[in-house]
Structures are given as C-alpha cells and as structure tokens.
Symmetry: C2
Subunit: 381 residues, 2 copies
C-alpha cells in the first residue's frame, strides 16, 4: 500500500531503510545451495502430491525428531509454503461461515486466506502494554460460539514477536479440548526464540492428536522465502486424507524448492545458533533504542524478528506515508509498516507500527536515528 511512495522516493535518489518487510538478509545454508547445484535433471517431473519422500523423511527424522516432535512421514504433507498449508487447513477444518479465533495483532494475510476459504476470523485482543501476553481462558472462551471451529496461533508471532510458553500452550490446549476445537499452530518462526526455555510446539501436546495441526515453513528458518516450501503436519488421519485430495488437485509443490529444502535440513546446528545470536543483538539494540525515543513504547519480544511499537502520533499510517513522501535526513528515510491492519478490532493499533529488525545493527542505528528525528519534526509541523 505504501510501496508506490517508497518506489517514488527511491526514484528521487532517496535511500530507504526497510524496517517494513519480514525479508531477512541472513544467508541460506550452504547445504541448500549445494543440493540445488547438485540436482541434475533432463526434464523436471512432478513430485508426489504430498511432496518428495526424501523431504518428508528428512523433516521427520532429522528436523522434527531433533526438536522433540515425534511424527511419521504420513503425518507430513509438503505444501507451497505456509500460505498453502493454512489455506488447506481453513478449507478442510471449516464450513463456510465458520469462525476461527486468532489473537490480535495477527499476520494480516490470515484475513485474505480465511476469506478465500469462507472462514470468519474472530480477533481476541492482546495488549501491547502487557507485552501481548496470552489473555485468560475466560477472555478467550468469551469469543467462542457454536460456529467456532479452531484457535489459530502464530508462535512466536508475526507481527508482535510474542512467544508463548509451554504453560500458555497447555492452557490453549485445555480450551480446545473443552470445546472440541482444532488448534492450528503456525510455527514458521520457531527457530527464532530468544529465551533459554526450550520451545514447546503444539505437536508436543499429549492426547490432542486429532486436534493439533502444525503449519510449518522453510522460508524464515532457512532464509528460503522464495523457495515456497512449507508443510502441514497432523496426526489426524481423516483430516490428512481430506487435505491430500486438495493437494492432488494442484498436482505437487515446487520441486526445485523441495530440493533446496532437503539440502537446508542438512545444515549444521551452528547455522541456527549464529542466526539466533545475530537476531538477539539486533533485537536488543532495536528495543532499547526505540524506548529511548520520547513517546515511543515497545515491549521486548522473545521471538521472531518483529516488534510492534507505539508512536507519539495519532495516525501511524499517515506518519508512515509522510516518512516516504516528505521526510529526509541527509537524503535518507525509513519505511515502517502501520500496525492497524494486524488488528481485527476496529480502531485498534492506530498509533502503532510493526518494526522488522532485519538489518545489521549499524543500519538499524541509522534507521532509528532517522525515526527519532522524524517524529520530532512531524510533531512540530
């Protein structure tokens, strides 16, 4: 929506720091590039609709088993990125008009994917001043109606960076059990967690085999966004059988991306460690710096590579546009994402932005200096 203004600024010779997009600059694993370079073909045939058996096996035996998730190849369906996995789940788990609860702020493409599949997203508010903590069971249950079929979480969350603990997941599971709901857990950012506590996946819940559906993705974990490889994982046999039919209708997920993903899974463990250390440094710098700007407030997120921050402006959308059209500091400006579209409740998040700390610290420093000066100028106009 703001992209044309950024393009115009760049055409005018302005350097734009992109804190708006979740497109990290970290290198893909060498093993992914090597797998691709080593993949020779005469003609590029379809793979199995559920994905290449080599990829499904590698995911189960090398990745999931290493993070404490016990699933078999039949529980895993490779998808065209997490988006297709979620689309399949929305379609399989609901009838037109059914409702899915999502904690707001939430990834705004959930809205379009839900709408395309006849699902109504019902927002459960979480508060920036409480660090976007999970609401009480009573607050969540107040949103449940006879049409509610699932609770969808993104853990850790895009856009807020909130990371749900094991006890959070257990309490969501209790609600799902009590009301017979699916628990759809989008774990695209699961390798981006900055506490010392081990990550607790929804698939580690016990006695919930028919309820839990994992949405997974190679995009962020291996910096392979363009490969478009995701996975849908569930031990619910009937659901998987239905979704397999949808998968067959689109023939197969992208084969070249699957080859890269097979390679990526073989990356050494220090690939994640190095990435994690880099993001912790970026997060620490970003959150500290944001909170030192007068009138700005950001909680300290424990996961993903985003934060949602309050700015001392009435309308963050207008401010973000103004940054691109009017403000320059030494010929540079910054691009942020207005947070309002991440909220389902009308009027929420108007003075908030999402900041993606996907640049190196020296660039973050420059970008946040620009933001501080811009806010001053904007409010003195």
């Amino acid at each position: 929506m703001l992209t044309p203004f950024a393009d115009k600024a760049k055409a005018d010779g302005v350097k734009v720091y992109h804190l708006n997009i979740g497109a990290p600059d970290i290198k893909s694993p060498d093993s992914a590039l090597e797998a691709l370079a080593g993949f020779k073909f005469d003609h590029l045939a379809y793979s199995n609709s559920a994905g290449m058996i080599e990829l499904r096996t590698a995911l189960c035996t090398k990745y999931y088993s290493s993070v404490g998730i016990n699933v078999g190849v039949d529980d895993v369906l490779i998808t065209t990125a997490g988006s297709e996995a979620l689309s399949f789940v929305f379609h399989a788990a609901t009838d037109p008009g059914d409702e899915v609860l999502v904690m707001e702020p939430y990834y705004c493409n959930y809205n379009t994917l839900a709408k395309m599949n006849g699902v109504k997203v019902v927002a459960v508010h979480t508060d920036i001043r409480k660090g976007f903590a999970l609401p009480s069971a009573a607050e969540i249950e107040a949103h449940i109606t006879p049409r509610t079929k699932a609770i969808l979480i993104c853990n850790p969350s895009n856009p807020s960076g909130v990371l749900y603990s094991k006890s959070d997941i257990l309490s969501i599971a209790d609600i799902c059990r009590a009301h017979d709901l699916f628990l759809i857990s989008d774990e695209a950012y699961r390798e981006f967690c900055y506490t010392e506590e081990p990550y607790f996946s929804a698939l580690q819940l016990e006695g919930m085999d028919d309820n839990v559906i994992l949405i997974d993705s190679a995009s962020k974990r291996y910096n392979l966004c363009g490969a478009r490889i995701g996975a849908l994982v569930s031990r619910n046999k009937d659901l998987m059988a239905l979704i397999t039919k949808f998968a067959q209708a689109r023939l197969c997920p992208p084969v070249l991306g699957q080859v890269a993903a097979i390679g990526a899974i073989n990356c050494p463990p220090d690939y994640f460690r190095a990435t994690r250390e880099e993001y912790i440094a970026r997060r620490n710098y970003t959150i500290d710096r944001l909170n030192r700007i007068p009138g700005v407030f950001s909680p300290k997120p424990d996961g993903a590579f985003y934060t949602v921050a309050e700015l001392p402006v009435d309308d963050a959308t207008a401010f973000c546009k103004w940054l691109l059209t009017d403000f320059r500091l030494d010929g540079e400006t910054v691009m942020l994402t207005p947070a309002e579209p991440f909220y389902g409740t009308p009027g929420m998040g108007r003075n908030q932005v999402r900041v993606a700390y996907v640049l190196e610290v020296h660039a973050l420093e420059r970008a946040l200096n620009i933001l501080e000066k811009a806010l001053l100028t904007y409010n003195e106009r």
Copy 2:
C-alpha cells in the same frame, strides 16, 4: 486410485508401461537448465507477488508476441502453475453456487478446484464418435442458467486431445458475448497442435477484453512440470486487481521455477518443432494401432498428447485394475486411466480410457501389443 496396484505390480518385478500419466519424457530446454545453473543467491528472497518482472516481460515480448497475442506486463500475473491460476479465476469470477460450463470429457481436477472455490461445474457433453467436436451453440446455450458465469475450455484438451479451430473459438465467443460470460481458456497444451492451421488463442478475440481469461503453464510447453510455474492473463483490469489481492496473500510464486521459466522462454524455436514432430509420430502410431485392435475405437486428436479410446469392455475401471493385478505378458503390463472421472454426466465414459502417448514409439508398440493381448484374454475369461 490405481497407483497402489501399479506399485504392487512393480514390487513384484513386473514392468509397467505408463500410458496413464501426462508426464512427458521430452528434455527441458537447455536454456532453462543454464538459467538455473547461472542463478546465484545468498539468500532466496520473495519475488513480486505478480511474479518477477523479467519473467512477465519475457512472456509478453518474447513468447506471446511471437504467437500473435498482444498483451502488456500488467495483464500477466505469474502463478504457482496453471492450477493456482484457475483457482484464482474461479474465486474471482464467481460467487458461491455459481456455475461454469465445461465440455466433457474434461480434466478431472477442475472438479476439486471448482469445489474448493464454491463453483459448480456443469458438463456439456461431447461425443467420442464425433471426435469430441464442439457442440452447436444451441446445445451449449441449453445449459446456461442465471447462475452461469463462465465457459471454461481446455484447448487443445486434456483428456480428449480435441483442438478447437478459430471458428470454434469465435462461436464460443459469441455465446459469451450474448450471455455476458467469462471465457476461461486453459491453453497449457497450445504448443502441442498437429494441424497446419495456426493456433487461435482466446486472447486473439477482438472486443472481448473484459471477458477473456487465459490460463497458461510452463509445465508441458517446456517440460517443466515440477517447476510449478503458470500464468493468468487478462485485459480485464478490475478482475486483475482483485486477483492481485489473492496473489499478495500467498506472497509470491516459486522463485527457482521462475528462473527456469525465464531461461526456457529463450529456447530456440526448433525446440517446439522437434517436440511437435516427435508427438506427431507418436500420435500417428498410437491412433492407428489402437484402431487395429478389435473392438477398440479412438478418434484422431489434433492436439495435446492424449486420446480417449473406447474399449470392448463394460467397465474400463475394472479392466484397468485387472491389467495391474492379474495380467502380464512376458512379465510386463500397461497402465491406463479410466475415462469415467473425466465426465460430469453420470454413466458416461464407462467403457473408455485415456491414453497418454508419452513414450517413445518402440515402447508404445510394446504397450499396445500388451493391450491387444490383454483385451483378448479379459474377454475370454
């Protein structure tokens, strides 16, 4: 559906000739492999949601312009194969419960894609004994109701191989104009035409800019099935704006496949010529041989690499299964696709199969010898 029986036969050491799948064995263009080998990346980023500008430009200026289709980059949206393009069109062009007319026999995945998007496929019968010729305007119009929103054609057709002439397309266009319907033209097989008449694309129709939607694909044209690259092309600005929103929700089409497709478009013109000659030889052999088997009838298709043939059996599905489970000739058998699922009218096509002539002639010879012997044995049981 028959795959487990084929797998079992193969596990038992039986060689299975696959005339069931549309997976050709022709080499991808060298230029596609070279483009991929030359593509270096540090991390694999998203492309534009509408596809890489290099690919959209190459499609317009190198491919479409060379085949008489005059479209601009804004009319082209790159999709995750033809399946996604059709899914987007079904979703954009109809409301739940609306109807789309399709000539039967038709590609059976149309049913699932339609169902997932709330569309009802209405079959218009075409007759094997008439070479699956386009029905009269009156016969087609008899199926139009107030809920009809589009006519979907596959030209040339999977599964029948029928190729619609310019005058066929003009008469379909007249119906669409008279009833204000979209004309959705799936032209995935457009380079596989075996007459001397030039191919006439629905996008070459005049005065139909708001009605015509082209579904395109790199899969068959360049033998890049696994790349999952297709395109949706229309001059209808409102439709494209709506579909762009769907495209944004799934971020982007597969980038590695896009790179291969950019390379493929640069293939020399004799790539298509050589492929075409090979398929003409295969078609000629297959149709002649099929019709020399007692009780078998196949029309001579002018496009794609399939034909639908009548067999001297009551239930072709049972026969196809028996081929895999019971019949061997010198330790070999043949796999065919029952044609009944390609029909929307109940009971139609029960004694028909689809034959994909995607093997070299010497293998086709062996496979059809097996079929002849099998039919004899089957009917003498």
